[in-house]
């Protein structure tokens, strides 16, 4: 009986896991913080002006449904941290969001590594990056940036799905705020 090559099984399993991670939409959430900033002094925030450039998907450009859902989700998170939303002039922080969508190719590398692969293929997917910026009103300095990147292929096709992903992304980004929960 010819044994199954371990490399073949490993390649198959890795292919399946990679495909599931991609299609199942693996999420990367990161943040930068200005270490000079004293976050204990911030109490209020306001939303900054909306972007005037394209997102990469026309459906999201000037899309008030997306904006409203995102702002509602963020407002709830900031309220939970004890922040109060005010007018821009009097706010300690101004909050901006940016959405960017680019196509990416994920090429299965197993064929190069093992000289063989099953169900070989390259995946094209839409990578969506949602960025939240906090700018100190007094100095105009960016004090914190958090972002979430994931495959969003198909997410914009259905409003319910888009809403859920926006809420999840905002929640995960704002978990990284260097501010204790209220």
């Amino acid at each position: 009986m010819t044994p199954i090559r371990p490399t073949w099984l490993a390649a198959s399993a890795a292919t399946a896991l990679a495909a599931i991670a991609l299609s199942g939409c693996a999420v990367a959430v990161r943040s930068y913080v200005d270490r000079r900033a004293d976050f204990s002094q911030y109490r209020t925030y306001a939303w900054g002006a909306a972007d005037t450039f394209t997102t990469g998907d026309p459906r999201l450009d000037n899309n008030t449904f997306f904006r409203d859902r995102l702002q509602k989700a963020a407002d709830a998170r900031f309220a939970a941290r004890g922040f109060e939303q005010t007018e821009t002039e009097s706010a300690d922080l101004v909050l901006h969001y940016h959405m960017n969508i680019t196509q990416r190719i994920d090429v299965n590398e197993m064929d190069q590594k093992y000289g063989y692969c099953d169900d070989c293929r390259a995946e094209v997917y839409d990578a969506g990056t949602l960025t939240l910026d906090l700018v100190e009103t007094r100095t105009g300095r960016l004090v914190w940036r958090g972002w979430s990147e994931r495959s969003i292929s198909g997410v914009l096709d259905k409003q319910d799905w888009m809403d859920r992903q926006v809420e999840e992304a905002v929640a995960r980004i704002l978990e990284r705020l260097p501010i204790p929960r209220g």
Binding site: T54, P58, R59, N62, Y116, D119
Partner: protein
């Protein structure tokens, strides 16, 4: 019980992986047309519409937006579709709704699926991937509450630009399909049309 031969095991694992991939892919399957809606809005209050100039975003592509055929076909398809849904046969001067559309083109890539067409497996040099570029067209139809200026519905449909520009007939067919696809998801529809028909017939 006799263990299955390696070939069967391979086949079984391949089928399982294919099923997993198909399931994951189906979860992200692309749609041809759809919409976003302001869920709190009662669309039965809207009975008329007029065309309005588009917003700066989404950006428009001159191959479509400045194409007289394209404009005529889109506006004709939208007006027919809205009439069928009960929003009036034509635009009016004091409307409940303002509508505008955007024709955008985005350069996109696709990978050649030839390896899968040959049985789902490849060996060595046959495993290469070919990447193709194409222009994807996106038609966006925005519907705003004329009183508040608020966006209450956005319909979208996508189609390959090369196919749209192939001939006027092909363009008309693609646009009719796109507009019908997005308007099928718009609130109002049969109930509104039925009420309009009832009112047209007068009280019984």
């Amino acid at each position: 019980m006799k263990p299955p031969p390696p070939q069967s095991v391979r086949m079984l694992v391949t089928v399982l992986i294919a099923a997993l991939l198909a399931g994951a892919g189906a979860a992200c399957a692309a749609r041809h047309a759809g919409s976003y809606v302001e869920r709190s809005m009662d669309f039965a209050q809207y009975r008329s519409y007029d065309w309005a100039p588009p917003d700066p975003l989404p950006p428009e592509d001159p191959r479509l937006a400045e194409n007289a055929y394209f404009q005529d076909y889109v506006e004709g398809a939208v007006q027919r579709g809205l009439a069928q849904k009960g929003f009036g046969d034509e635009p009016v001067t004091d409307p409940d709704l303002l509508i505008h559309y955007h024709a955008s083109v985005t350069r996109r890539i696709a990978v050649d699926p030839f390896d899968r067409a040959r049985g789902g497996a490849c060996y060595d040099e046959a495993c290469g991937v070919r990447v193709m570029e194409f222009d994807a067209g996106m038609l966006i139809l925005d519907v705003l509450d004329a009183r508040t200026g608020r966006l209450v519905w956005r319909g979208w449909a996508r189609h390959g630009v090369a196919d749209i520009l192939r001939s006027p007939d092909r363009m008309a067919a693609a646009i009719n399909d796109a507009v019908a696809g997005m308007l099928a998801t718009m609130p109002g529809g049969a109930q509104l049309a039925a009420r309009a028909a009832l009112e047209k017939g007068g009280p019984r």
